[in-house]
């Protein structure tokens, strides 16, 4: 039974005690699409995946996955999906091969077929050489690849990847994405992936949803999202009080959305390189000295900032905040 869309979230909501982890979100993912969920840690990405993969029950709303309702038909959903959770889930005491065969058994795949698929998948993720080694001897990248193979053993129509590249080096990250791409191209698998790496979302996803504080702020192709930012983004630093500079800049025609973001004055303008001399002029007349200027075509970072009002990159620094948030959520779950 194929519905119109692979995934359809309808007012999907999850509340942990006082915290609204996911707040009435609605979106659709088409078959064959790589759909990215982009947001900082604690934005509700993992909670969304957990609801879509029937691990956690929504507090409110529901979602159709592969045409089945995650609340009413969780068993049906589980048969058509593959999941690669954020944490490593393979059994360290078993070998890579045994892990794959175990998961195959849970899907009720006959042994002979399971062996064929396991061999095929190990080949795909380039782990054939390590098949008979215990998983505890694997490196992080190898474990992640094994997880992906485990998520594919049932030939899912829809694959969920929760931060598949988290904590991996750049080279392994690129390799993981190339496997994901292979899946899409060769098997036509629909892929739902969460990430907080902007470049990855930009480069590999057909469409992206930006999520922050449990809410979807924008959905679209990377290109469309960048277009909505409109024109170039200029970042200025001035000697002295930036507030005064902002006032001056706001009076200039053609400049929009002037504000201070993390010590920089940020604004948008149609053609940054042409506007720059004029801006210098106006500011120096007002007695304000520019110390630095950067003109950027909008990147996903700008897109993210546009919608959320803060940079995603800074989220990486505030680990304490993230950990504190996680602790709260965990306590609330008990």
């Amino acid at each position: 039974m194929l519905g119109d869309s692979a995934i359809k979230a309808i007012n999907l909501t999850k509340r942990y005690g006082p915290i609204l982890a996911v707040d009435h979100i609605n979106f659709e993912v088409k078959y064959g699409e790589v759909f990215g969920f982009l947001g900082p840690n604690g934005a509700g990405k993992t909670t969304t995946i957990k609801m879509l993969t029937t691990v956690t029950r929504p507090t409110e709303g529901t979602a159709l996955v592969g045409g089945y309702d995650v609340v009413k038909q969780p068993a049906k959903v589980r048969e058509v999906i593959g999941v690669v959770p954020q944490d490593f889930t393979s059994d360290e005491d078993l070998t890579g091969w045994e892990n794959l065969m175990m998961i195959a058994g849970l899907y009720g795949i006959p042994k002979r077929e399971a062996k064929e698929r396991a061999a095929e998948l190990l080949d795909l993720v380039e782990l054939s050489h390590a098949a008979d080694r215990k998983v505890e001897t694997y490196s992080g990248g190898m474990r992640r690849r094994l997880e992906i193979a485990m998520g594919l053993i049932n030939r899912p129509r829809i694959l969920f990847l929760d931060e598949p590249t988290l904590g991996l080096d750049a080279q392994t990250r690129a390799a993981i994405w190339s496997y994901v791409f292979k899946l899409k191209e060769q098997l036509g698998t629909t892929i739902f992936v969460t990430t907080h790496y902007l470049e990855e979302a930009d480069q590999y996803c057909d469409r992206i949803a930006i999520i922050d504080h449990g809410r979807i702020l924008a959905i679209g192709t990377p290109r469309d999202l960048k277009k909505t930012v409109g024109g170039d983004v200029v970042m200025l630093q001035v000697a002295g009080n930036p507030e005064a500079a902002v006032k001056v800049l706001q009076s200039i025609d053609g400049l929009s959305d002037v504000r201070i973001v993390e010590g920089f004055i940020r604004f948008k303008v149609n053609d940054g390189s042409k506007a720059a001399p004029l801006i210098f002029d106006v500011l120096s007349k007002a007695g304000i000295r520019v110390t630095s200027i950067a003109i950027k075509e909008p990147s996903m970072d700008e897109v993210f900032m546009e919608y959320t009002g803060h940079s995603l990159r800074d989220e990486w620094g505030s680990r304490e905040e993230v950990m504190a948030m996680r602790r709260i959520v965990r306590t609330a779950r008990r």
Binding site: Y16, K50, T54, E79, T89, D93, L94, L106, Y107, G108
Partner: protein, 290 residues
């Protein structure tokens, strides 16, 4: 696909068993405790020699040693049902190893949760009840294997079986003992797994194990008959399933039973059924979060 729920159950049981037979160290370690009880305690706490060590001499009374021995035998027989305390103790050790193995099954679900394995299992079509029952089944099979080893060691150390048993009778008795142990392992591992369903903390699980372990051991007929207990302890012993397994083991292997063996089985079957059902039902509710 996955229309047969038993398929996943066996896969999960096999996974647990694999870890066990691939790491014999675990097996050896779990065997140490009953062996210590048997070899150290059982061999030293020699009731017969307490009474018959020949040094009893009550001034003024010249009781012949023979009579003292007879009195001692009579006391032992009336207390333990046999003059051979070692065999009395050894028979209870098979239940004890089963009990210990079952207790630890709760730990494995805590680890599965911590290591993320459980998260993965929950996304597969395997029934939630199978996740629990796979662990229960593993614990049953492990218990039976370990009980066999304990029984062999006990025999080597001098456990004496009911001499009136024919070879066939003995074989049937062993089957009966295994049946009792299966029920005990089913009930206790389901109970401990249920207690661990939501836990992510192995320390608290250990605490629960230690809290229940000693009291259940001592509030049973494992080391002494119930009639020797103070009145307030007896009700606990009568509820304790260990008591009934011990009664079956002693009844079948030694020929000394305090209750009726069919009633013992009935009670154990009830115990196993209630806690297995509870485990399966609650796992549907509580295994996944939220």
């Amino acid at each position: 696909m996955a229309s047969n729920p038993l398929h996943g159950l066996w896969t999960l049981t096999n996974r647990e068993l694999k870890k066990w037979y691939k790491a014999p160290v675990v097996l050896i370690v779990t065997l140490i405790q009953p062996i210590v009880w048997l070899a150290f305690f059982g061999k030293s706490m020699n009731m017969a020699s307490i009474f018959t060590n020949g040094s009893i001499n009550i001034p003024g009374l010249n009781i012949p040693k023979q009579i003292i021995d007879q009195i001692a035998q009579a006391y032992l027989k009336s207390t333990f049902g046999t003059t051979d305390y070692f065999s009395f103790l050894a028979a209870s050790m098979v239940a004890q190893i089963t009990f210990f193995t079952a207790m630890n099954s709760g730990m494995s679900i805590v680890w599965d949760r911590r290591l993320g394995v459980l998260d993965k299992l929950l996304t597969t079509p395997v029934p939630r009840g199978s996740i629990i029952m796979g662990k229960v089944l593993n614990s049953v099979l492990r218990s039976l294997a370990q009980a066999t080893i304990v029984l062999i060691i006990a025999t080597l150390l001098g456990m004496k079986f009911n001499t009136s048993l024919t070879p066939l009778g003995f074989a049937l008795s062993i089957v009966g003992v295994y049946a009792a142990l299966t029920l005990l392992a089913l009930g206790f591992s389901a109970l401990y797994l249920t207690l661990a369903l939501r836990s992510t903390n192995w320390q608290s699980q250990m605490a629960i194990i230690n809290l229940l372990n000693m009291p259940l051991m001592f509030a049973s007929n494992s080391f002494y008959p119930i009639k020797m207990m103070p009145w307030w302890l007896r009700p606990v012993a009568y509820i304790n399933p260990l008591t009934y397994v011990n009664d079956i083991t002693r009844g079948l292997l030694l020929g000394i039973s305090a209750f009726s063996i069919p009633m013992d089985f009935f009670y154990l079957a009830l115990f196993a059924m209630i806690f297995s059902t509870m485990g399966i039902v609650l796992s549907w509710r509580f295994l996944s979060e939220g």
